[in-house]
Symmetry: C2
Subunit: 331 residues, 2 copies
């Protein structure tokens, strides 16, 4: 199995990306890792001497920066690492791609290069959110800021397949992110989506509210891309703000400093449980190929786990699963 890794994408590219890819190559010797990007910038980060035999470099001269207009950049930069990596998947030179670069560019490249699965109206960016009950899937977190009720239904179908196949959650509980518990609550979108989900045959548990998400009350949280993005980034910001405050407050006196040392392992466990890097990344659901989106600030560990996710996606053949579940006849 071949996994293409966008070596130039992300806040810590290419160093951490290359490092993570090499770790994955060692962890999964049956894989072939293809580092896509500028060879001269990638080479220095390869473990000299001990470079894994299952890591190769695919030269791509250009890069797409975070600021650039995604669609324009992807159209004009045919030799950028994200475009080349995506093309390799389309042309079956790779089974999946992993990138921590501009999410917009990765989405544009996937839509242009791989296209949508037949029957899928809108792809969705799924993300695995840490909760008290482990990682749960939230989608869409930004692919489609103005969604229709039918899109949310498709997100629920795609998300359920992912949660079952990759997160290993049996009969995943699908929750509609809403502002009240009862049916009929919410905005125009959720009021229309509710009956569709109710009739979907999925394990729909009804509306869930923002406060339910961190407690893991749903395995698959469905919402439009605007709301999901706000939810995700708010959670990130709050976790960061919490830890800042804790660091400050539990070290503000000698006694507290001593206590801090004693509880540190516990706090570390919490930090680990909140670490998105554990989940690596999540695919752009609905495109005709496996394109794993990683957090822009991904380091080696996140990339290594993202490669694992890509591998599991290929093995579980969930692109075929989704096309079966969403084939037009179904709708």
């Amino acid at each position: 199995m071949k996994i293409a890794v966008d070596a130039m994408g992300g806040d810590h590219a290419p160093g951490e990306i290359v490092k993570g890819a090499c770790q994955a190559a060692e962890a999964f010797p049956q894989l072939e890792l293809i580092l896509v990007g500028r060879e001269r910038e990638i080479k220095p980060f390869l473990p000299n001497g001990s470079q894994p035999g299952n890591v190769v470099i695919r030269q791509a001269e250009e890069t797409v920066a975070m600021g650039e207009h995604p669609a324009q950049a992807v159209r004009s930069k045919k030799d950028s690492s994200i475009v080349v990596a995506t093309r390799m998947v389309r042309e079956k030179e790779a089974d999946a791609l992993v990138s921590a670069g501009s999410t917009g560019a990765q989405m544009a490249a996937s839509l242009l290069g791989l296209g949508r699965i037949k029957g899928v109206e809108r792809p969705a960016i799924a993300t695995v959110m840490p909760t008290l009950e482990g990682g749960k899937l939230v989608l869409d977190v930004g692919a489609n800021p103005d969604a229709k009720a039918e899109h949310l239904l498709q997100y629920a179908r795609m998300g359920s397949i992912y949660a079952e196949r990759i997160l290993g959650l049996r009969e995943p509980r699908v929750g509609l992110l809403n502002i009240g518990g009862e049916e009929g609550k919410g905005n125009d979108l959720t009021q229309h989506a509710y009956p569709l989900l109710k009739a979907s045959g999925l394990n729909f548990i009804g509306n869930i509210e923002g406060r339910d998400v961190p407690y893991g009350r749903a395995d698959v949280v469905v919402c439009d891309g605007f709301v999901g993005n706000v939810l995700l980034k708010t959670a990130e910001g709050l976790a960061g703000a919490f830890f800042e405050q804790i660091k400050e407050k539990i070290t503000s006196s000698p006694v507290r400093k001593l206590g801090a040392l004693m509880v540190k392992p516990g706090l570390k466990e919490i930090a680990r449980s909140l670490d998105y890097a554990e989940y690596g990344g999540a695919p752009l659901l609905g495109v005709n190929g496996i394109s794993i989106i990683c957090h822009g600030s991904s380091k080696a560990k996140a990339i290594r786990n993202a490669v694992r996710v890509a591998k599991e996606c290929v093995q579980s053949r969930f692109v075929e699963e989704i096309s079966r579940a969403l084939r037009p006849a179904d709708r």
Copy 2:
């Protein structure tokens, strides 16, 4: 100045409500507190003997439960505590009302009983969110789940007045809650709202993302009622889940238990900084009178602070301020 308090509304009514109102009566002897509800249920909670002289009871036989359909309940239950308290404000028997009961019912009662300020298209529920930089205003958090760009502009105007007059924030920085920093990002609503806010003459700092909110990067966060409600409840849920985890992880061994004792004061400080009760409540902005909405789980302290907020709202005459700022000629 007379403040009507819905003694029957809230998870801890009437006990905590009565207690909080009496505390406020003592703290602000110049106020007259009017407890609205069933006298026989209120009386037992009055400090026997030492009942403050500036606390009176206004009999209201009915109550509106959380589950009930707000508008229907308000129309049919003319003698419910929330309807009576609102009527007292309309008929100038009280200068403001405070309730921790059903937000929907309070909103319906305010709209029917007080009406909208001339020029206000949609009232907004504002809430003060604790951040690393102190309490910041977020609105709308649920009054109007399907907002138009013009509504967001009005929220920004009303919120700025509140932030300046009640939160004491000079030239409050208004942020548009969005899913990207640059102008042009977002969904249809935010794309249309951005230019309106830019041209508003307010201290508009542009788009802010979910992760900026906990850091207090804006003093007034403007969003539609659906997104605001998700943001607020997610923050509540995360804070709760976080403290649960901390409690568990820092007491899971004897050493950690000891350390926990030493850092406890620090954690308490954080909990206090996150305590909505400190802010008491926030008004329904845009209605023609002062109606302070409290968290359903409010206890005495939150009610006491809500009465203070009500008092400050009356003193700052911000209803007049808003009607000046939003008078049709302005638009």
